[in-house]
Amino acid sequence: MEAPLGFPRLSQALPTPVEHPPAVGRVGLRTLGARLQGLLFISPALAVLTLFLIYPAYYTIRLAFYQSDFLFRFTHAIGIANFKNLLTNDPDFLDLSKFHGVNILRELLYKSDGGALLNNLHWVVFYITLSVGFGLALAVLAARVRYERMVKSVIFVPMAISATAAGIIWLFVYNFDPNIGIVNALIKPFHHPVAWLGRPSTVNYALIFAYVWASTGFVMVVLSAAIKGIPTEIIEAARVDGAGEWEIFRRVMLPMLSLPISIVTIWLFINVIKVFDIIYVMTGGGPGTSSRVIAFTMYEETFPNGRPGYGAAVAVIMLVLVAPVMVLNVRRFRSERVVT
């Protein structure tokens, strides 16, 4: 295990804890000076971080415990009332009243009216699975064809489009009028046109699919690069040993791709917890409130509803959801560094 800076000195001191090393004298002063100097050098970065990250985060977390006015002032301390209200008394954010079956997990995925938090759970499950699945499949398949570059650039194009523009494009795709919306045109011979974005039961999946379209390219490019990094000797050796293509993929490539896949998954997870723009453009959280997600609720409460304290509480919940994944990510990076 690699220890952080400054750590070894302490561990060396551990076996003989009785005697303190001399604190004063030339050596002590020197290290103090060096430390001060280090501090001075990182201070611009610290100042920027404090101003733009630490202070706003502190402000938001504090605000979450207040009932605030539209000027974001700390008008009225109310303890954890915002959180309590969000989690127990706001069906637009979390509504468990419709879930009472034996198989809660299945119900959570099947029913789509559990509020913003559960909508976001749908996003996490389907968006990540589909993006990684499509991205991986495309990366593996593209590596086997001659026109790989062309395929990859075409699939990467949506990454160059802003989510707003992607939203507008998909508004056309899902349009109710079969003369405009290609999805309804395709199902026209078999079915009446469907208001994909107008029904609570389909709206979340329609949005998720549009967003998958926009992110698959990124996943594909990252995984494609990782595939290029797998030494051909290993694959050839497997082939010599008589492994079929599927076995090579399953037992050789997939394990070697596990790190890039997990990194991409974490990136997608963070992305999906803060998803907002495409929903704002395509449905405005509707119909009703059925396509709201966590970030959308934060916006809706903070600005249109003018309740920044309540919105801040939503932001804190978002932070709490993302934090463990970030920690995991950092840990993973550290352990990888030791291995290589």
Partner: protein
């Protein structure tokens, strides 16, 4: 050692420079930048509505030499709130939703008109009592009514009506009968009776207008006022009655594409289903929304439409004879966030009949100003609408616009739930009531 101290010194200088730069930029924002004579007016119009308004500001600039910078944002509540929080609001905003302006007035960020040189007596000369009371919060007048709309009209194609020998209905039962007649033709002619566009991305206000027109006619103007000022709960029986009346038309049977079609079609697309490509058979025959539908149909959808021949409207039919034909209207109000001689001049200017005449002659708006003559309106559709607004004996303002904050949207979403789950009207209303209770200001 020497080199090190130089580095330290450099670092100190860098930090000092950085901090002072922040301090400097922070103090910069507070300074007034209005040495030049100009003001900023914020609203939410783009396109033809914006062009029409720019004609008004151009006339103002020609008269006074004060420049008007027009900025717009569709998401006006968010925009106004963020700019207020940053301490940098536009000087003047012209926005709908008196409910939101009431919220702002109670937060003490608006200048009362009397404090910027527009006396209540002067305002009463120019505007009718309904408008004055709309712009009043807590006994003080805060806003100049800048434009008005009738929302009590139903749009149709006179050529189609002639072809099938239909008559414009005067009562709700006649409207239902007409709807049935149209439905009978659907199988052979391929059109649905109604097009209703309440679909994705910000069209949920269309159903709120349906509800309001019907509530006004089934429960009466007095109850309407109580309901939309928080004095009558939404769980009241009268609300259920009005919603059930609404569902007689707003349902799978009569709307183009059924409930799916209503939720899947945006407001403008809905208009197109009736008025696109004038000569051929429309997808639907009737569309219910305010006077501005005419401008959108002529301007954006089908410029070859002929007012009175291929596009026209009839007033909302009566439902309960006792309440007759009250008018549901909407409008935009101009408010000032700051005070300066230029702001005073502009607020005064838009309250004059002269400014209103410039504006209405573009055909884009109806003015609530009493001094504007009917001949100033350039075409039949706006002239009719202006006459309807002017002659209305009972006038009620769009209720969802009077709801506090963004509850107008929340109400629209609740109505989307109602049309999908008519059997749970009561629980939907109870849910909405529990949210809005306590949010109405005094």
């Amino acid at each position: 050692m020497k080199r090190r101290s130089v580095l330290v010194a450099l670092a100190v200088i860098a930090v000092t420079a950085f901090v002072s730069a922040i301090a400097a930029s922070a103090s910069y924002g507070g300074k007034a930048r209005h040495s030049a004579k100009s003001i900023e007016v914020f609203s939410l119009w783009g396109g033809s509505e914006k062009d029409a308004f720019l004609k008004v500001t151009a006339a103002f600039t020609a008269q006074t030499g004060i420049d008007v910078k027009y900025t717009s944002g569709r998401d006006f509540i968010t925009e106004i709130r963020t700019r207020l929080a940053a301490g940098n609001p536009a000087e003047i905003a012209i926005v709908p939703r008196p409910g939101f302006l009431g919220t702002l007035a109670r937060e003490n960020v608006l200048k009362p008109l009397s404090s910027i040189g527009l006396s209540t007596a002067y305002m009463k000369q120019n505007y009718g009592p309904a408008w004055i009371s709309l712009a009043t919060v807590g006994g003080k007048l805060y806003a100049v009514p800048a434009k008005a709309n009738s929302k009590s009209v139903i749009w149709y194609r006179p050529d189609q009506f002639k072809k099938y020998k239909w008559k414009t209905p005067k009562t709700w039962s006649q409207l239902l009968a007409l709807t049935k007649k149209m439905k009978a033709k659907q199988a052979t002619q391929g059109f649905a009776p109604w097009s209703i566009g309440d679909g994705p991305s910000q069209s949920q206000w269309v159903l709120t207008d349906w509800f309001e027109d019907i509530y006004l006619r089934t429960a009466g103007p007095a109850k309407y006022q109580l309901l939309f000022s928080g004095k009558l709960p939404f769980t009241d029986k009268s609300v259920v009655t009005a919603l059930k009346t609404m569902l007689q038309i707003v349902n799978n049977n009569y709307a183009l594409g059924g409930i799916q079609g209503i939720l899947g079609t945006s407001f403008v697309d809905g208009i197109a289903r009736v008025f696109e490509g004038a000569p051929k058979t429309p997808h639907a025959q009737l569309y219910m929304e305010g006077g501005f539908v005419g401008g959108i149909a002529l301007g954006q959808i089908n410029p070859s439409l002929k007012p009175g021949i291929t596009i026209n409207d009839f007033p909302w039919p009566t439902i309960n004879a006792k309440f007759g034909r009250p008018l549901l209207g909407a409008g935009d109000l101009a408010v000032a966030f700051k005070d300066s001689p230029e702001i005073r001049q502009f607020m005064k200017y838009i309250s004059t009949a002269a400014a209103a005449t410039v504006w209405v002659s573009t055909g884009a708006v109806i003015s609530p100003n009493k001094g504007v003559s009917g001949s100033a309106y350039p075409n039949l559709l706006v002239r009719n609408e202006a006459a309807q607004v002017k002659s209305a004996k009972v006038f009620r303002f769009d209720g969802s616009d009077q709801m506090p904050g963004a509850f107008g949207d929340t109400w629209g979403f609740a109505l989307q739930n109602v049309i999908q789950h008519p059997s749970s009207i009561k629980s939907i209303l109870a849910g909405f009531q529990s949210k809005i209770a306590g949010q109405w200001g005094s």
